[in-house]
């Protein structure tokens, strides 16, 4: 096989793009720095949000509180800030809709009387369930009110000489078996997605510049008159785009490892395996898909007549390889031998396994690496064939 010129083209593209601000920003800054910080920030926000939820007092506006002084005392004693208001139904609805009062507990005038007569005493709880924060508050108020009801019921049984325990035939004990690592699935899905996307982005501008850009500038024609087999020119360009992807991948994984170490993941009940050894494994899982990604982007941009046209195609096309990941997230796919034949998805599943500190099945790793490399080689060959066509000149 004649390899003439591949090395020369690779070095030239690598060096030229090192001087291009757009390529550098997308390869070294956008993906590798911004996405880990974004994810770390999001996780940190979730953590602080979760913390405040159980600790903070919730505020409830009780309408006509004078109708149920004991209930109000019961709520106050359990950490509810009671604001006393006097609303009719319409006013209560309006107040919740306008969010001047977020949760309103309406006590009807006959509450005490019905309670005394042993009839069900209704209360009305107003809240806006489209707001996640208030929904949890309302749930807590509801639980407190029904607990209050159970206590009253138990007192009634006691007064009639019945053991209150006998009217609680079943007690449900909840045991959450999701391991701390298992719970982190959402965060991890997002992370592996961003690692792969950021890797692709790293080679995006080089792929455009080396193909559509070269044609647009008018240097392609002279390049084609050099005594180098045409397919070798594109092989060199694919290699250069791939090298930028590799740099982008290593940086992104490193940054994730560093950024996540600053986030108190344990407080979320997540223990993610993101130390230096895991980072190396992540890179090893992902690296084989670089050839595929770089040949893929190069082929697409080789079809475009201008830089701008290529950019338009690629912004759309770059998300296609990551679609299986979204399905994987929605369907909760687990690593299986069959899925290891799907590029990007197999990398995602292997990475998730590493981060969850689970064992990778060696056969899975082998199938993922070999099949992805084969697809990459096929795409590279196709790119070479394309570059031998005359229509390339546009």
């Amino acid at each position: 096989m004649n390899l003439r010129g591949i090395w020369a083209v690779f070095r030239k593209e690598f060096r030229e793009n090192l001087r291009d601000r757009r390529t550098l920003l997308s390869a070294l800054v956008f993906g590798p720095v911004i996405s880990p910080i974004l994810v770390a920030g999001l996780v940190q926000f979730t953590i602080s949000h979760a913390e405040t939820q159980s600790d903070e007092n919730i505020s409830v506006s009780v309408s006509h509180a004078q109708n149920a002084p004991n209930l109000v005392d019961y709520l106050t004693a359990r950490g509810v800030d009671v604001v006393k208001v006097n609303f009719d139904e319409a006013a209560a609805r309006a107040a919740v809709a306008k969010q001047t009062h977020k949760i309103i507990l309406e006590i009807p005038a006959d509450f005490g009387a019905r309670l005394q007569q042993g009839q069900p005493a209704p209360v009305v709880l107003y809240s806006d369930s489209s707001r996640g924060f208030e929904r949890r508050g309302a749930r807590r108020v509801r639980a407190l009110v029904s607990n209050y009801g159970i206590e009253i019921a138990q007192l009634r049984f006691l007064a009639r000489g019945v053991d209150p325990i006998s009217v609680l035939p079943i007690s449900v004990q909840e045991i959450d078996v999701s391991t701390p690592t298992g719970r982190s699935v959402l965060v991890l899905n997002m992370m592996t997605y961003l690692v792969l996307l950021s890797m692709l982005l790293g080679g995006l501008y080089l792929a455009i510049d080396a193909t559509a850009g070269e044609r647009e500038r008018g240097s392609l024609e002279v390049l084609l008159t050099s005594p180098v087999p045409r397919q070798n020119l594109i092989y060199g360009k694919i290699a250069a785009a791939g090298s930028y992807m590799l740099i982008s991948l290593v940086l992104t994984v490193t940054m994730f490892s560093v950024a996540m170490s600053f986030v108190g993941l344990e407080q979320l009940g997540i223990t993610a395996n993101l130390g230096p050894a895991a980072a190396m494994q992540l890179i090893a899982c992902c690296a084989p898909v670089i050839l595929f990604g770089s040949a893929y982007l190069t082929i697409i941009s080789a079809f475009a007549k201008t830089y701008r046209e290529a950019q338009t195609y690629l912004q759309l096309v770059i998300t296609i390889p990551t679609l299986p990941l979204i399905f994987a997230g929605m369907l909760g796919l687990q690593p299986k031998l069959g899925l290891m034949f799907v590029p990007f998805l197999s990398q995602h599943l292997l990475m998730t396994t590493v981060v969850r500190a689970e064992e990778i099945v060696p056969l899975h790793m082998v199938v993922s690496v070999v099949s992805t490399l084969v697809y990459g080689a096929v795409l590279t060959y196709i790119a070479g064939r394309l570059y031998r066509r005359e229509a390339l000149l546009g």
Binding site: G218, S219, L223, P227, P229, E390, L393
Partner: protein, 247 residues
Amino acid sequence: MLEARDLYKSFGKIAAVRGVSFTARDGQITGLLGPNGAGKSTTLRMLYTVLKPEAGDAFIDGTSVTADPLAARKAIGVLSHGAGVYNNLTARENIAYFGELHGLTRTDREARAAELIEMLDMQSFADRRAKGFSQGQKLKTALARALVHRPRNVLLDEPTNGLDVMAVRNLRKLLGQLRDAGHCVLFSSHVMQEVEQLCDEVVVINDGQVVAAGPLAEIRARAGNSQLEDAFVSLMHGNDAGSGAPK
């Protein structure tokens, strides 16, 4: 020596070149003259192996461009239309890159780049990135790039486009030097004066066919005109004279 032998090429339904034959000899400057769209660029592109002829063949020092394009490319230096250079490389790096593609060793290509920079008087901008280059500077860079492997044959597609008077003069001088050194120089143009001032031989192309070829004087004589421009117009049979006449 360059030889086109009955070249044919069409794009879709448009027949761009229909049986073009001519010879460009060593130690001569040959001008490919014709109006816009006559098929000059297409002919050149077949000669420098970027396009494949549908029929016919071309020979670079006897090597067929269809049978062995890689060998043919080694013997030609090309200045393409527009002379695109790599903006993020310096002039020197642009030259050396093509030296490398032509298989020159590192010391060889560095020495050759230095030599060309001197020869084309590029010292003042040789180590600046090409991004801010003037048309003249870009052309010199592209020309040096075309000459880096000491090709025996030099092909230039409309080299004077967009150049100012001084740059055109420099180019003319340089092409003269190449001829005197025994190179075969072939360039295309639609500008009469250039062809008149530079060429030893002229090949006039119109509508994808050669309408006249030979030494300048012969062409003038054949058309019965002492002015090349008038000869040119009469060769076009008046049909395409409007679009082909120089501005």
